[in-house]
């Protein structure tokens, strides 16, 4: 077990290193640099001073080594575009906002999706099944952007049920100001509903035809017991492959939603940073999010073992 953990940790470090390197050189390969817009109007001397301040006067390889060295110490540097803005500050101010939005979407979307999936599988071939499937295809085909604007127009614009834009801040950051979070959460949760309803339905239909379900039926168990104890647990294995991706997505994937509802989240900032070639911010966020992904993937592997006893971690008996 210890050996396995050590191996996973080494893999994690190598993965992060490769991601950071690739990100750095990809951004370097883009023509122009983050300072040119600000520097163009300045006199030559000031321009050189500005470049020197951010270390952009040095050759690429030297900057690469310096950046990587600082990153190892946990210092991702200052934003090239907004003076004084650091990755640490961003994570502190913006990550919680995105995390709450993402988690709310995911919890609502995954639970409703799984319930609809069970419904569709159990009522297979009936109106309920067709409705769930049709609804899912519809939801998966419509982009967030359109949904968000539609909900905003109807429920905030016409009906005035919810605020048009904004997000709870301060002491309401995690548990409060719910009315502002309703529309963004709804906008985002639809894709989860569609994905998980279809995933669980397919998986359950597969399990329902297994012989052990027939055995369970031949024991005279009630339908509810058969679904809960024999079908669901075995159907969750494919669902669990999808979950870590969703957790990752839920932190970073709300770019459009954050734009539509003016939510000061990290998704919006991330995309802006890429557009601005804000190297230190992009690199910092990329590395932090990769760490998140890799850790979640590791947790999933452990979760597999808990759900399916046939899977064992290497080194355990």
């Amino acid at each position: 077990m210890a050996k396995y953990l050590i191996r996973r940790f080494v893999e994690l470090v190598v993965t992060i290193f490769l991601i950071a390197t690739a990100t750095f050189f990809l951004l370097e390969a883009v023509p122009g640099d983050p300072l040119s817009e600000r520097a163009d109007k300045l006199p030559v001397q000031s321009r050189e001073a500005l470049y020197a301040r951010y270390g952009l006067d040095k050759p690429v390889m030297e900057r690469y080594l310096l950046t990587m060295g600082r990153m190892c110490k946990g210092d991702f540097g200052e934003s090239f575009v907004y003076a004084g803005q650091t990755v640490g500050g961003l994570v502190r101010d913006r990550l919680p906002v995105s995390a709450r939005l993402g988690l709310q979407q995911m919890i609502l979307g995954v639970s409703v999706g799984l319930l609809l999936g069970i419904l569709a599988a159990m009522k297979r071939g009936t109106i309920a099944d067709y409705m769930v499937v049709g609804f899912s295809v519809l939801l998966i085909s419509i982009p967030h952007l359109i949904f968000g604007l539609m909900l905003q127009k109807i429920f905030a614009g016409t009906l005035h049920w919810f605020p048009t834009i904004g997000w709870p801040a301060g002491k309401d950051l995690w548990f409060g100001g719910w009315e502002a979070t309703v529309l963004p959460t709804l906008t985002g949760c639809f894709s989860y509903i569609a994905m998980y309803a279809r995933l669980l339905k397919t998986s359950m239909l597969d399990v329902i035809n297994q012989d052990y379900v027939l055995t369970a039926e031949s024991k005279g168990l009630s339908k509810g017991t058969i679904i809960r104890k024999h079908i669901l647990r075995n159907s969750f294995i494919p669902v669990m492959t999808q979950l870590p991706m969703s957790v990752g997505m839920c932190i970073t994937g709300s770019f459009f939603i954050e734009s539509i509802y003016s939510i000061p989240g990290i998704g919006q900032y991330y995309v802006t940073a890429v557009n601005n070639q804000d190297l230190s911010i992009v690199l910092g966020e990329t590395v932090l999010l990769s760490i998140l992904y890799v850790v979640i993937l590791f947790l999933t592997d452990i979760l597999y073992v808990a759900v399916d006893p046939r899977i064992a971690l290497p080194g355990s008996k």
Binding site: D211, Y212, L214, T215, S218, K219, G220, H230, N234, D308
Partner: protein, 342 residues
């Protein structure tokens, strides 16, 4: 056969499966009786409707694909189980009637501990508490001959060998002392030595509890070991039935002759080929109007292709459905067995 106490009477059972290709008539009018405490073997090749018959008796035919036709009757202790309501079904399944499937690995839930799979039964039908059921599960595993049952109940099916898994299935089936046990090819997936052990366990438990058994198999060796009566099924019908001795020593139907001849035997002379039945069973999407075996039968006559033969009674419960036994038919005897008598 004289008036007996039948635990199970199947009357004109007809089961169809609705597929994209059309209606597959898997079972086409099967009737038989099973006396309390007796063992009946249903023999036939793959796809002849054996398992569908078993599933019908167990109430496992699922709508909308599967359909038991309206005038079919399955009487359990005189009561038609096809008219059962939900509650009666739940009490019947597992409590009165239990089934052992062929593939024990596929038939056990891979993510549930073996002990728990036995306990489920006990808690539903015998209303035991968790602790009582857990203790009983250990006892059941001991009864079917699994060593170290205290340790084994906490394991998962993939940690058992094939024979051990089938023992677990038997433990599950016998947990609630069913009156009727259906074994759907219980030994097909096992090697020969284990087959013998499994059959012995089933026989022992049958005697101990006076359980009536329906043994479904395509292996005549298994039949000789366990059953008192045999029903030979072909293409969704019972073509011949009777006591074991009658079927083995005086078979009357050409299909039974062919079946007996295709059993591998130790006393065959060197290099003598195993005999097989040429051709394939008829397509049950469009079952033939006449005798279903006529295309493969070397004694086939004109009438066989046109009309289904009546049953001929040879006494002692031995019947066969074949035109050869019509008074006007030519007299044909069973061909000599290659290499000697059975």
């Amino acid at each position: 056969m004289s008036e007996k106490n039948y635990i199970l009477e199947v009357k004109n059972l007809r089961v169809s499966y609705h597929t994209y290709a059309g209606e597959v008539k898997a079972v086409r009018g099967v009737s038989f009786e099973l006396a309390t405490g007796d063992a009946l073997a249903i023999v036939g090749e793959s796809g002849c409707g054996k398992s569908v018959t078993a599933k019908s008796i167990m109430g496992l035919i699922k709508a909308p694909q599967g359909e038991i036709k309206e005038d079919s009757e399955i009487l359990y202790n005189g009561e038609n189980i096809l008219n059962y309501d939900k509650k009666q079904w739940q009490a019947y399944k597992g409590g009165e009637c239990a089934i052992v499937f062929q593939d024990a690995l596929a038939s056990l839930n891979p993510t549930m501990r073996v002990g728990k799979q036995i306990m489920e039964n006990l808690m539903v039908h015998k209303h035991m508490t968790k602790q009582e059921a857990a203790a009983e599960a250990v006892e059941m595993l001991r009864l079917v001959g699994i060593p170290e049952p205290e340790k084994r109940v906490k394991q998962y099916p993939h940690q058992f060998s094939g024979g051990m898994r089938q023992r677990v299935m038997i433990a599950i089936a016998f947990a609630c002392d069913p009156k009727l046990l259906i074994c759907d090819e219980p030994t097909t997936a096992l090697d020969v030595t284990i087959q013998g052990q499994i059959l012995d366990i089933i026989k022992d438990l049958q005697k101990k509890n006076n359980t009536s058994v329906i043994m479904i198999t395509h292996d005549l060796g298994v039949v000789a070991n366990v059953a008192k009566e045999i029903a030979v099924m072909y293409s969704g019908m019972i073509v011949e039935r009777g006591l074991c001795e009658d079927i083995f020593y005086h078979p009357r139907h050409p299909y039974t002759w062919a079946l007996i001849q295709s059993v591998p035997r130790l006393d065959l002379k060197n290099k003598q080929e195993l005999s097989s039945i040429p051709g394939t069973p008829p397509d049950l999407l469009n079952p033939p109007v006449g005798c279903p075996f006529c295309t493969r039968c070397q004694y086939c006559m004109e009438i066989c292709k046109e009309e289904m033969p009546e049953r001929t009674d040879f006494g002692n419960g031995h019947t066969a459905a074949c035109w050869l036994h019509h008074p006007m038919a030519p007299k044909v005897a069973m061909p000599e067995l290659k290499g000697g008598a059975v």
